[in-house]
């Protein structure tokens, strides 16, 4: 009797293991936490320097589209207006996500509802392959195939939002598809049985019940796809034209936040306005990815069922 009493109150090998495991995870989390805070702090201070040390007006930055931070403009000051890049970034992101989502949902439905076995066998590897292709290869194909095509059909240089959208469409498609598949798979089997038992057709079951139940998950998939499109630099840079101009059509050369960063980052000196201005672009990208994350969290809260 007393033996058990003693054992109950004494730490054992298991409780020690608990404490050690706890400690190890705390150290790891602490390290990652410090890293994240350091990155945030660095980008924020650097990005805000454009406004604090170089006295560029915040309104001008977001409302003007003249970008020449290394030269003095007509008013005697360098011009730092990022509106054209922001607009282009959002345009390619939204267009590619809107274009890719219907295809992604169709593929996800095929893989989960219509032909799960064939879907798993054929489409799954296809999607994984699409994810695995490096972005420079997508960009290269875009440059060599898409741009000449666009040039022939629409005239002009051939670069711009349209080829960028098409390249990004292929790049975000696997992300949205595989996450939509997860969302559809998370819909309880009972929902399908319940719908079918009430006399619903397979299409009604999929469209009215399964898709509705999976909507938050599919929206999340879309947001993740958009986050990927928004952040993609290399492939976009190869087809967008890289001229910081407000896009006048889908085929006029322009630039995104990321493409401007990749093309200019080697040409500036740390601490100068052109360099700080690039950091400000990075800050905008960072803030946008935070916004995407917050949206995903909000959608997750409204999810119809717990995963």
């Amino acid at each position: 009797m007393n033996e058990i009493k003693e054992k109950l109150l004494k730490p054992s090998k298991e409780t020690h293991q608990d404490q050690i495991g706890h400690l190890i995870s705390l150290v790891c989390i602490g390290f990652i936490g410090i890293l994240v805070v350091a990155i945030l702090f660095f980008i924020t201070t650097k990005g805000l320097a454009t406004f604090t040390t170089n006295h560029v007006s915040v309104i001008d930055f977001f409302a003007k589209s003249d970008w020449s931070p290394s030269q003095k403009g007509p008013n005697g000051k360098p011009e730092v207006g990022a509106l054209a890049m922001i607009v282009t970034s959002f345009a390619v992101t939204l267009l590619s996500a809107i274009l890719a989502t219907p295809f992604a949902i169709a593929m996800a439905l095929f893989m989960t509802e219509i032909a799960p076995k064939r879907g798993q066998k054929i489409l799954q590897p296809v999607i994984e392959l699409l994810v695995g292709i490096p972005s420079v290869v997508y960009g290269f194909i875009g440059l060599m195939v898409l741009i000449p095509m666009v040039r022939t059909v629409f005239g002009g240089t051939g670069s711009g939002i349209l080829p960028a959208t098409i390249v990004l469409f292929v790049m975000v498609l696997p992300t949205i598809t595989s996450m939509s598949v997860d969302a559809l798979k998370a819909v309880p089997r009972d929902y399908r049985s319940a719908a079918l038992s009430l006399g619903a057709t397979r299409w009604q079951m999929m469209y009215k019940v399964v898709l509705r139940a999976a909507t938050p998950g599919i929206l999340t998939a879309m947001i993740f796809g958009m986050a990927r499109a928004f952040g993609e630099a290399l492939a976009v840079q190869m087809v967008i034209g890289n001229a910081v101009l407000m896009p006048t059509s889908l085929t006029s050369p322009t630039a995104t936040l990321t493409s401007q960063l990749t093309t200019q980052m080697g040409n500036t000196i740390m601490g100068t306005l052109p360099n700080n201005a690039l950091w400000t672009l990075a800050l905008v990208l960072l803030v946008m990815s935070l916004v995407f994350n917050v949206i995903v969290k909000l959608i997750g809260k409204r999810s119809a069922f717990k995963k």
């Binding site: 058990i4 009493k5 054992k7 109950l8 109150l9 730490p11 054992s12 298991e14 409780t15």
Partner: protein, 266 residues
């Protein structure tokens, strides 16, 4: 049927005679700010079956989960739970030793995706039993005790997932008693099973009470009446009545208990 407001302070709780295996004193459970049970003070006698009955959400399962600290990290539990003169509701308690001594079986059969033999040996091995003959003995003993031996003795190395619901639940009971615990906690062990499997589980419980103290949560009042020696009736987190099962079912003294037993609310 609307539910009348019963006087929650009017209750009848006895202290059973004989040796007490586990006793709670003023146990309160909080989920965040929401209080789930109120000042629950019950004494569970050794080698008897005690049943906890009550409607859904009355706090009986929540209370049961306090008894081997399964509410850690889920809910806040205040009050004292005395086991072998130790308050087990304290921070420095070694919960692993406690759970070895107070086993639990859940509502849905939850065998591991391992063979029947491995299911039973899993916890034993983790608690340092290495001798193969001891391990084999425990497998047979506990399967016999759970009245499952005859059905599975020829397929101990097949996956436990192939068992029927009733068999799987008896395997879970066997898995718990292989640890040779003192007390067995059962959370609606038969509610997902058919009547034949239920009857077998009940038989098993009546066998097991020779050696174990059993506390069972059940929705099924007939089940409580059939197997238990003592019954506690939970209503909105309060224990309204706790006494010998025969007394509570034939002569309930509290209005809420009487209404519940006769099916006048629910």
């Amino acid at each position: 049927m609307t539910q009348p407001d019963y006087n929650l302070d009017q209750h009848q709780i006895i202290v059973p005679p004989g040796e007490i295996a586990l006793e709670t004193k003023d146990v309160n459970v909080f989920y965040g700010k929401k209080q789930a049970t109120f000042d629950t003070s019950l004494a569970f006698p050794r080698f008897k079956i005690s049943a906890l009955i009550g409607a859904s959400g009355s706090g009986k399962s929540t209370f049961l989960r306090c008894l081997n600290r399964m509410n850690d990290g889920v809910a806040t539990v205040t009050g004292a739970i005395m086991y072998r003169d130790v308050n087990i509701n304290q921070k420095k308690l070694n919960v692993y030793v406690l759970r070895k001594n107070i086993g639990m079986v859940f509502q849905h059969p939850n065998p591991f995706a391992k063979t029947i033999r491995e299911n039973i040996q899993f916890a034993l091995k983790k608690h340092g039993v290495k001798d193969q003959t001891v391990l084999d003995q425990r497998v047979e003993q506990s399967l016999r005790a759970a009245a499952l031996w005859d059905e599975v003795k020829d397929k101990l190395d097949t996956s436990a997932l192939e068992l029927s619901g009733g068999q799987a639940q008896r395997l879970c009971i066997a898995r718990s008693i292989a640890m040779q615990p003192d007390i067995l906690l059962l959370d609606e062990p038969a509610s997902a099973l058919d009547p034949i499997s239920t009857a077998k589980i009940e038989e098993t419980l009546l066998e097991l009470k020779q050696k174990y103290t059993i506390i069972i949560v059940t929705h099924n009042m007939q089940q409580a009446a059939r197997v238990s020696d003592y019954t506690a009736f939970f209503h909105l987190g309060h224990v309204m009545e706790y006494k010998k099962t025969a007394d509570i079912f034939t002569r309930p003294q509290v209005k809420a208990t009487e209404d519940y037993i006769s099916g006048n609310f629910g």
